[in-house]
Point group: C2
Chain length 360, copies 2
């Protein structure tokens, strides 16, 4: 939730990460600096975490580093992840040991993912679907529970008798707070519409607590229109009528899936920003592009920094500077409209162009 | 897997179900009859199961009915499900008590869902994505494990201390057999390509057994090209380059989600057929359209029976009659190409038209 008390000085932890992470983060910081209101001071600390660090030192997220990061006001993250199938990088080690560890430890229970079809951006959906309707919704993905808890295990690994489990944990505590946040967000928007996405017909235990709390909180928000959709049906609605969505609230795994679809249909993951938000501010929130570290194009100034820059906009909004945040978004919109299809700019050129628009 | 021994007489259990189920099933049976090779006899038994039956009698799937159904050679199912949010129909009761019960009891471990963009069908994806490339893939969804086992529970329901869990169960036994089936299918296709879809970076226990067995079986099939994709990344590839897929193998829940997306991008769930296949033939396989019972348009002859008719084609293929199956598909293709956009036909008119093409 956006704070009402603007922060005038902020300690910013920067985790550029791997692959294209450092390149896009540099542009995000460039724009952040230009966009920040006069007088606001960002004190930056850089943390080298990710695949490179792990491969070099065996460290993923030392406890002392986590505690240092915790003492910041916000985190800007680029992207983490090594080369696909690197045998020295066990699957999940960075995801569970770093990314998810931060989300869980810092209680980022609102994973916020806005989706818009920006002007000038080509959606994979045809004009017969889009019909000029405005696609502008936000997914409030639960960030600290569900199948992401790392709860589960395996027995007789590597034998024909192996059994492996994954446990989705859903608490009334965790579900209610994210639903409340989603209702509050819906209430602040023009259409005031909130859709719960789940799979209540199969995952009946988890579905039941989500459904009941959704209904209960809905009763307190008569001005918000609600509906419900199974995750599979949501695939269809998202690709055949994306304009129908305003705010979506859903669990951690469904949110992971639907936000990538949302990114795809709004023109690609190169534009998708996200905030891992701790609305209670008991720990710093973290802002990151949805895309990965794209090691294949790393270091070549080929990556589009727009998602990272939009993540910096979410960061400013979170720190109580909605005008500065909006200025970044406006600059990005203008930049996107001015892009010439097929004409590739360097990562830093995109950052410069957007920074110039914010400044001027 | 297609049987090599064609069945010449078959006991067919027909479950028309609720809503539009009976209407589309009638057309599927009409076409099945016309398409069946001379000499093949279908002995049909009709089972009234679904929301109506439950609301009238409290029965979902009596044990004796299950045993009767088990004695058949194949099952044709329309659709089950009552009115949305009917307070007399607890969420999941039909899904878990009837549909999934049949899939699990009859060991339908291969949930087969072919996806094609048929000629004349409008995909929501734009021409800039499709570029005339052929979209023709099949999803092999695991049908008897994963988060669908009904394993889980809830504690302190309705209190602020509620905890609800869902356990995804993955066994080497269950994972290996579906992966083997998928490799065999890939091997029979022109492109011979198999993509594993999972979320190995987060669901590390389940992901590990899927990944290891996929690699192990791949080693036995050097002629099959393999790749791997996280479920979230699959959302992007499916909407920006669906032609890249040939065969996809995935778990029960990811399969549920991705097949609805596949149905959407190939022109809608009105065309999506599926087979719940027991490749070992220890029990009858079940064929059903992917769509639901659509109570809002039930009894009005408005439903498109094409998905049900294509499910009958899968049934014939499963019973060892690939030519008869292909004849139905050819007739459907011709019918689709001849459809006039905006001109609605009655359910029975579509069935008649396709039956006439098969016959003549
Ligand atoms: C990298 C991975 C752990 C992560 C997730 O699954 O949440 C990513 O896909 C995302 O959406 O931020
Ligand atoms: C109705 C429901 C239980 C079912 C599923 O989730 O498998 C349906 O969505 C399907 O895909 O066949």
């Amino acid at each position: 939730m956006t704070s009402s008390t603007p922060v005038t000085s902020a300690k910013l932890a920067v985790i550029p990460g791997d692959g294209i992470g450092p390149e896009v983060t540099a542009e995000a910081l460039k724009v952040l600096e230009v966009a920040s209101p006069a007088g606001i001071k960002f004190e930056q600390t850089r943390y080298d975490l990710g695949a490179e660090r792990y491969l070099a030192t065996g460290e993923v997220l030392p406890e002392s580093t986590l505690e240092e990061i915790r003492a910041h006001d916000a985190i800007l993250l680029g992207a983490v992840g090594g080369k696909p199938n690197d045998p020295n990088l066990p699957p999940g080690i960075l995801e569970r040991g770093l990314l998810l560890k931060l989300r869980f430890e810092l209680d980022h229970y609102v994973n916020l993912r806005p989706s818009k079809i920006f002007p000038g951006v080509v959606s994979p959906l045809g004009e017969h679907i889009l019909k000029g309707a405005e696609v502008d919704f936000v997914v409030v993905r639960e960030g600290t529970e569900g199948p992401y808890t790392g709860n589960g295990g395996a027995l007789r690994v590597g034998t024909p008798a192996e059994v492996a489990t994954e446990v989705s944990v859903n608490t009334a505590y965790g579900v209610e707070r994210v639903i409340r946040d989603a209702f509050a967000r819906a209430e602040r928007r023009t259409r005031k519409k909130l859709t719960l996405v789940h799979k209540t017909n199969v995952l009946v235990n988890a579905g039941s607590v989500w459904w009941r709390l959704f209904e209960a909180v809905a009763a307190e928000h008569p001005d918000v229109t609600t509906d419900y959709m199974h995750i599979d049906a949501a695939m269809i609605h998202m690709t055949t009528d994306p304009a129908r969505f305003d705010v979506i609230v859903t669990d951690n795994l469904f949110g992971d899936i639907i936000t990538d679809l949302a990114a795809a249909i709004t023109g690609g993951i190169g534009l998708a920003a996200s905030g891992n938000v701790n609305p209670d501010r008991t720990a710093p929130s973290m802002f990151e592009p949805v895309h990965g570290s794209a090691p294949d194009i790393a270091g070549q100034q080929k990556a589009d920094p727009t998602a990272a820059i939009l993540s910096a906009s979410l960061l400013l909004d979170h720190l109580g500077h909605p005008e500065a945040a909006a200025a970044i978004e406006t600059a990005v919109l203008a930049d996107l409209s001015a892009r010439t299809p097929g004409q590739a700019r360097r990562t830093s050129e995109v950052g410069d162009a957007i920074a110039a628009r914010v400044a001027g």
